[in-house]
């Protein structure tokens, strides 16, 4: 009994997982899953995620309708109602295209098509297709129409889960009365209604022996036989020629299960094979039911093998099925052909799997290992199932587009039962979660079981988090789309090293360690088939490039090599569920890796201190000359209240000799005493020292103590010099020691004291100069770059034949991962059902031949040279700068090409020409540098530089060019007299959102330039506000060089004037060479006058919608106004998941919600227009399922008219046919007047009235709603 419970539990799990999965997908597909009122949050979340994945925001050409797409009713290849871009549609369509925005019913409206001849229904059928084939089309895409509602059709005790019309037709064909049970709404519920037909011998009396067949009583009577219930035809008492137990065959029991049956010599089915009761059964000649026959245990039961020999009651639910005998599995009667075979399977790991069990199989490691995603290129997930003793393998989509997830339950005997399914891989959803700006973002990523947060932490200034998929998708070889995904893993870090006095200071030190390469490769390989990885058979390919950091070491590489073997990960499986969108790029923090040269830690002190000190030092003497100042500074003047003159100041050389005498200006008035002079001198000394430290830059290389020491020394020197200069002597009236310096005691006259101070200052200067000469504070920067490239299979095709060697079907991705020249061929013609992986160019030993094809833009041309081209512009030597010249060339076979300006460079060190993919058409972008930007000083019309680029290509077999294809050109220096131009702006629209207070804007310039803006027009210098411009050559974008600024928008209409100045590298005297725009670029930003508003939402809040059945279908509609022009894109905003309306991008928005369940439903809606205006709204309504016919609440006769009152709206029909009584067909009765609550008809006299009512959806009462007999109800 326990075993039975266990088995039924397993079956329940199995079956429920089927429906659960179907449910998930269904919910996802029909795009309205977000509204399901499931109490199961996890389920709801999964559904929303699945939906999100399945319905990308991007306007997929073949996805949901949008304004730019059209239906093609029939394509030239015969497809029905495919969706194309409107512009492309006519060329692909055999007939006229129909805009997807066309309202009303049209040829490509999807609905349900009913085959009136056979009763079958086909959902999601285009109207035209249905009409052409003479079907009956209904405007209901889900098939939830009465004609297609399934129920249980009882066919002589055998239930079939079909619709009513099918039931009618099948019953008619079988000559039996239709018995259709609408109330049974699921297949399992239908199957349990199976009833055993009592069978027996149907005897046809004859002499000398009677004829006999086994049938049920009804059939027997139809055939004119005499029925003997539960008696076998071989029963001796029936006097037939039929001999018992002649042969055995597989047949079904009364419960529909497999069993071995004996058959008599007349071919009649007898009892289940039971060797131990063979004689008894012969003798009795009676039919014994399966439950009373011998019982075979589960194949996992130790007694199975013994009982298998004697019992034919297979019971497939327990894991045995009727099949042909084998060498090890046979009956005791060895001449019998069949046996209850053990239907379990032994999986690839030797584990026994019971019949009906499903599990996952992988081609290596899956998921992530804490550091990175580890599915290997070429690998797929497989769903395996045990079906009647046979393992059936099914690939979960190509390239891990689907992944296999499983769950296991413990069985009572200590084993496990696995249930598995293929789910769409939601990898893109993880990427869509980026950038991870807040803890909440990180939490959301971590919560998603299909994503993980990849922490990159190389150094204190180089760390960030990225949300990446656990089950990374695979890519197709040679597809340029791969580059987009992998390029998200390309990132730079600026390493800075500053020479110090004792040791160097370093920033982003980790970026030049292998750790940088490792962590970036971890990220790179987590994005998909990118970076250094092994394919599923363990072949390593390092598709990355790192500049200024070590390559990946052997230890790391061997670590990731182990992912190729499934054996390293026994028992692994992806735990069930979730999922979208990938076009958005990963948003790393904006300033990541942009390390600055480290600030001198004392820089703040130096800057502010020197400024203050300098000011003090300069001002003090001036202040002292004023009467107020003199009074204020009086205490500093000591006993001598006034000074007439300062006198001369000796100036010493480094050797202490007086070079000359200087005079301290003392124009008139009060002068400072020596103490005041000390103060002023100290201030000046401090200022001078700090200026020198800053100016030479040595401060950033010195420890703070050293910097402060120099400052103190400079200050001291200045102080002493100031003191001495104003006549102070040590030990006289002006005691310097009191000043706190405490040195110089015993020194002589004031001039000597001043000389000491100056000497100290000179020493400080000398120290600073020496430190500068030693290079202290000198910063070296390195741009460390990791380039993440699409993973490339090994060259050649020597391993192609290994595809499928792991016992799994050879998929296209597996084949292509084994070698560059491996191709899957004969997929459609191979007898295996999948293609063969072959090396398509095993004999190729020739390297690719390069041919130049075109050059752009005008006026550039090229001339063919020996093996290469020479590029020129208007003149032989190119004078134009900042243009990107695109030289297109092709190779006679697909090839990977690289370029270098050094012919001797190794292949590994060369730069890819655009891509590392093997392609036939290549583009070499050449950026023409400005010679002045390269450091050539002044304009020299004769100056020119010859540049040679060397191109090399290799084919998929690794045949490389030994001779370079040379691209040469010369660049000459030309005076740049052309002002820059503003060539573009963002936002391109002048209108900005309602109420905006500022707007971030971009402008694009034709060449590197500095730009300014103002609200009044004027020349460049007169403009007050600056743009932040990116002027490096690598900053060049397709739109030009970019500058950004945030413009305040105080008015409804705002106008700004922009001017730029080119050649930003010219500073100082050479700045005169720069050209300014002579006219301003006008940049307007106008706020819209009204916010975006949702004017209406239907269904309106508060209404109750009656639906016939669950799930119900409701059309959600919204109208918007305001904002840019009233048009917007609207979404259902369900728990942060945005589910776009099907028809939107205008002021009318609609979406068909086909999966609503009964209860109160709240639908939050958010709309956004192209300029960022957002409007929110919601509607709350209730869905009630009206699945029952209206009950009759009152009946009365008034003036000969029968009044029937029902509890809810509907209609009623009356029949007086006693023969059919309550079984009359509604439509055969007389329809009563009234479709609301009251229904009337003249009162039939002298007859019994049978009344049936139906609701507005046509749901009719199975029996009578009421019966009236001569006034009696």
């Amino acid at each position: 009994m326990i075993k039975h419970i266990k088995v039924f539990f397993q079956i329940f799990l199995l079956v429920s997982s089927i429906f659960a999965f179907s449910f998930l997908l269904r919910s996802g597909m029909e795009s309205n899953s977000a509204i399901i009122t499931s109490k199961d949050n996890t389920l709801g979340e999964m559904i929303s995620l699945i939906w999100k994945w399945l319905m990308p925001d991007i306007p997929l050409v073949s996805a949901e309708p949008d304004t730019s797409s059209s239906y093609c009713p029939k394509t030239k290849t015969g497809d029905i109602c495919s969706v194309f871009l409107t512009a492309e549609c006519p060329s692909k369509c055999a007939v006229s295209c129909i805009s997807t925005m066309t309202s009303g019913i049209h040829a490509c409206s999807f609905g349900t098509c009913v085959d009136t001849r056979h009763g079958s229904c086909s959902i999601r059928t285009a109207k035209q297709t249905c009409d052409e084939k003479s079907g009956q089309w209904y405007d209901n895409v889900q098939g939830t129409i009465p004609q297609c509602m399934k129920g249980c059709c009882m066919l002589n005790g055998n239930p079939e889960f079909i619709n009513e019309q099918e039931c009618t037709l099948i019953s008619q064909a079988a000559g039996i009365k239709k018995d259709f049970r609408r109330e049974v709404t699921t297949q399992p519920a239908c199957l349990v209604l199976r009833t055993s037909n009592v069978e027996g011998a149907c005897l046809f009396e004859k002499k000398p022996f009677n004829d006999c067949i086994v049938s049920n009583e009804q059939t027997c009577k139809t055939k004119g036989g005499k029925f003997y219930s539960k008696v076998l035809c071989s029963n001796p008492s029936l006097n037939t020629r039929c001999l018992p137990q002649e042969t055995t065959k597989c047949d079904k029991t009364e419960n529909g299960e497999d069993a071995i049956y004996w058959f008599d010599s007349c071919g009649n089915k007898e009892n289940i094979y039971d060797f131990n009761n063979k004689a008894k059964l012969r003798q009795e000649g009676k039919i014994v039911s399966a439950s009373q026959s011998c019982q075979l245990p589960s194949p996992t039961d130790p007694s199975f093998k013994d009982k298998q020999k004697t019992c034919g009651n297979c019971a497939p639910i327990l894991g045995s099925v009727c099949g042909k005998k084998t060498s090890t599995q046979t009956l005791v009667d060895s001449n019998m052909e069949y046996v209850c075979r053990d239907a379990s399977c032994i999986d690839e790991n030797g584990k026994k799997r019971v019949n009906g069990e499903r599990w996952c199989r992988y081609q290596g490691a899956i998921g992530f290992d804490g550091q990175r995603s580890i599915d290997t290129p070429g690998s797929s997930h497989f769903l395996q199932s045990c079906q009647n003793g046979e393992i059936v393998s099914e690939v979960c989509g190509s390239n891990r587009n689907s992944i296999c997830t499983a769950s296991e339950v413990q069985t009572s005997n200590g084993g496990t039962f696995s249930s598995a399914q293929c789910l769409p891989n939601p990898s893109s959803l993880c990427l869509k979660m980026n950038p991870l700006k807040t803890e909440e973002d990180i939490g959301n990523c971590e919560k998603n079981v299909f994503c993980f947060v990849k922490h990159v932490d190389v150094d204190s200034k180089f760390k960030f988090d990225v949300c990446v998929p656990k089950y990374k998708p695979g890519f197709s070889r040679d597809d340029s789309v791969n580059e987009n995904r992998c390029s998200m893993g390309t990132i730079s870090c600026k390493y800075v090293k500053v020479k110090g006095l004792f040791k160097s200071k370093k920033v982003n030190e980790g970026c030049v360690e292998e750790e940088f390469t490792q962590q970036l490769n971890d990220l790179c390989m987590s994005l998909g088939d990118c970076g250094a990885q092994v394919n599923y058979l363990g072949d390593m390919s390092k598709s990355y490039k790192v500049v200024n950091a070590p390559e990946l070491g052997n230890s790391y590489l061997s670590g990731i090599s182990r992912y190729a073997s499934e054996r390293n990960y026994p028992g692994q499986f992806a735990l069930s569920p979730t999922l979208k969108g990938y076009f958005e790029s990963i948003g790393y923090p904006e300033d990541i890796g942009n390390a600055e040269v480290p600030e001198d830690e004392t820089a703040g002190t130096l800057k502010s201190g020197s400024m203050i000190a300098g000011a003090v030092g300069t001002l003090l003497p001036m202040i002292a000359h004023t009467s107020i100042g003199a009074a204020a500074l009086g205490p500093l003047a000591g006993s001598t209240s006034t000074f007439v003159q300062i006198g001369t100041v000796p100036i010493y050389n480094a050797a202490g000799e007086v070079i000359r005498e200087g005079i301290i200006a003392a124009p008139s008035g009060t002068t400072l005493a020596p103490y005041g002079g000390a103060l002023a001198g100290a201030a000046i000394g401090f200022a001078l020292t700090s200026f020198l430290i800053s100016w030479t830059g040595i401060g950033r290389g010195l420890p703070p103590a050293a910097t402060y020491g120099l400052l103190a020394l400079g200050t001291l020197g200045g102080g002493i010099a100031g003191f001495g200069a104003l006549g102070g002597t040590i030990g006289t009236g002006g005691t310097f020691g009191a000043g706190g310096a405490g040195i110089g005691a015993g020194l002589g006259p004031a001039a000597s004291v001043a000389a000491i101070g100056v000497a100290i200052i000179v020493v400080v200067i000398i120290i600073i100069v020496i430190l500068k000469i030693l290079g202290i504070g000198k910063a070296k920067t390195k741009d460390v770059t990791f380039t993440c490239k699409p993973w490339q299979p090994p060259l050649g095709g020597k391993n192609c034949a290994k595809c499928g060697s792991d016992g799994l079907p050879c998929t296209r991705s597996a084949c292509e991962s084994l070698g560059q020249t491996c191709e899957l061929i004969n997929e459609g013609t191979s007898e295996k059902g999948y293609g063969e992986c072959v090396d398509v160019s095993p004999e190729d030993v020739a390297s690719p031949v390069i041919n130049a094809r075109s050059i752009a833009p005008s006026p550039y041309t090229y001339e063919l040279r020996d093996y290469g081209v020479h590029i020129k512009g208007n003149e032989e030597c190119i004078a134009e700068t900042y243009n990107i010249i695109n030289l297109k060339f092709d190779t006679n076979e697909v090839a990977q090409c690289k370029m270098s300006n050094d012919r001797a460079d190794t292949w590994e060190n060369m730069e890819d020409v655009g891509t590392n993919l093997f392609v036939r058409n290549h583009t070499l972008p050449i950026s023409i540098p400005n010679l002045e930007s390269l450091g050539l000083p002044d304009f020299d019309p004769t100056a020119k530089i010859d540049i040679q680029l060397h191109l090399f290509c290799q084919d998929k077999n690794g045949n490389k060019n030994s001779r370079a294809f040379t691209v040469d050109f010369c660049v000459k220096q030309g005076p740049d007299t052309t002002p820059p131009k503003v060539v573009g702006r963002e936002p391109s629209l002048e209108k900005i959102k309602y109420g905006a207070t500022d707007k971030k804007v971009l402008i694009f310039t034709s060449e590197p330039a500095d730009c300014k803006w103002d609200t009044t027009d004027g020349n460049y210098d007169g403009m007050k506000n600056e743009f932040d411009c990116a002027n490096e050559i690598e900053d060049y974008s397709i739109n030009g060089f970019v500058c950004n600024a945030t413009l305040p928008t105080p008015n409804m209409e705002n106008q700004y004037f922009v001017r730029c100045r080119d050649q930003p590298w010219h500073t100082g005297d050479s700045a005169v060479k720069r050209n300014d725009m002579t006219e301003s670029y006008k940049f307007n930003l106008n706020k819209v006058s009204a916010p975006l508003k949702i004017d209406s939402i239907k269904p309106v809040s508060g209404i109750v919608i009656d639906a016939e059945s669950e799930p119900a279908t409701v059309k959600l509609e919204a109208m918007t106004s305001g904002g840019l022009d009233g048009s917007a894109q609207c979404f259902l905003n369900y728990k942060g998941t945005k589910d776009a309306f099907t028809e939107t991008f205008s002021s009318k928005h609609s979406k068909l919600l086909t999966y609503l369940y009964s209860g109160k439903i709240t639908l939050p809606i958010v709309c956004e227009d192209p300029i960022g205006n957002i409007a929110e709204g919601s509607t709350e309504f209730e869905i009630k399922i009206d699945a029952t016919p209206p009950a009759v609440t009152r009946i009365y006769n008034k003036n000969g008219v029968l009044h029937v009152i029902t509890e809810k709206k509907g209609s009623c029909s009356l029949s007086t046919n006693d023969a059919e009584a309550c079984f009359f067909d509604y439509k055969n009765g007389t329809e009563m007047s009234g479709s609301s609550l009251e229904h009337t008809l003249p009162m039939p006299r002298g007859k019994v009235s049978y009344i049936k009512c139906k609701n507005k959806f046509g749901k009719v009462a199975g029996s009578c709603s009421a019966v009236i007999q001569e006034g009696v109800i």
């Binding site: 497809d79 085959d115 390239n399 998708p473």
Partner: protein, 261 residues
Amino acid sequence: MIKRDKMKKKGQMTLWIILAVLFVTALLVFAYTGRKIKVDDQSISHPGSAIESCVEEGLEEITQKIMPQGGFVNPSNYILYKNVKVEYLCKNPGSYVPCIQQHPLFLEEMRATIEDNIKNKVDGCFRGLEIEYERRSTDVELGPQQVNLYWGKGKIYVNLTREMIMKKGEKSLTVLDFPVQVSHPLFNLGSVAIEIANQEARYCHFDTLGYSILSPEYMIKKQVMSDESVIYQIQDVKSKKELWIAVRSCVVPYTLGEEGE
């Protein structure tokens, strides 16, 4: 002499018995074939069983041809699998979205296909029989042929109406109807195919194992092709006959990139 007389009597008895048996047999044949047979001479054999077996053979031939090809003689929108053109029952050439039914009246289309294709075969059966009768010196006149095929669970019925008059000397035999009934799982397999197409169109998925558990009379195998088309091989477990269909639904593109169409 007495002995010889006795033997003669016995021989006569035997002869009479044989004649009686033949008479009864003729009566039974008349009773079985009913009003539509006009028996003028017992020496002309009835063509019913010959036509029946010939039509059965024709049905087998045509169903064998169409079953791997998705139920069609000349698939027009198909995918090649094991060198067989398997017709798409439900297809969306694009990505992410469920398939669109290509043959919403699949059973009817298959029925009409078989009916159309059996007509020539049936005519061939009559022509072959005509030659055979003429070889036995029996003249045959054939009227216009009408073939109606209908089917249901596990059965194909061919209603064949054609007047066939056979004459041999003064004797003639006329047959009008040739009902043929063949046990065949194609209707059932077609119904399963419709269910698969509906589930793919609704759920983007069809659970082969789950369906086989609930309906053990069918074994369904699934083969995913590299363009994500799926070949379903629906087998009637009892007869081992298989119907293949192709479906392409809710495809996540191979490259995760833009779709070509």
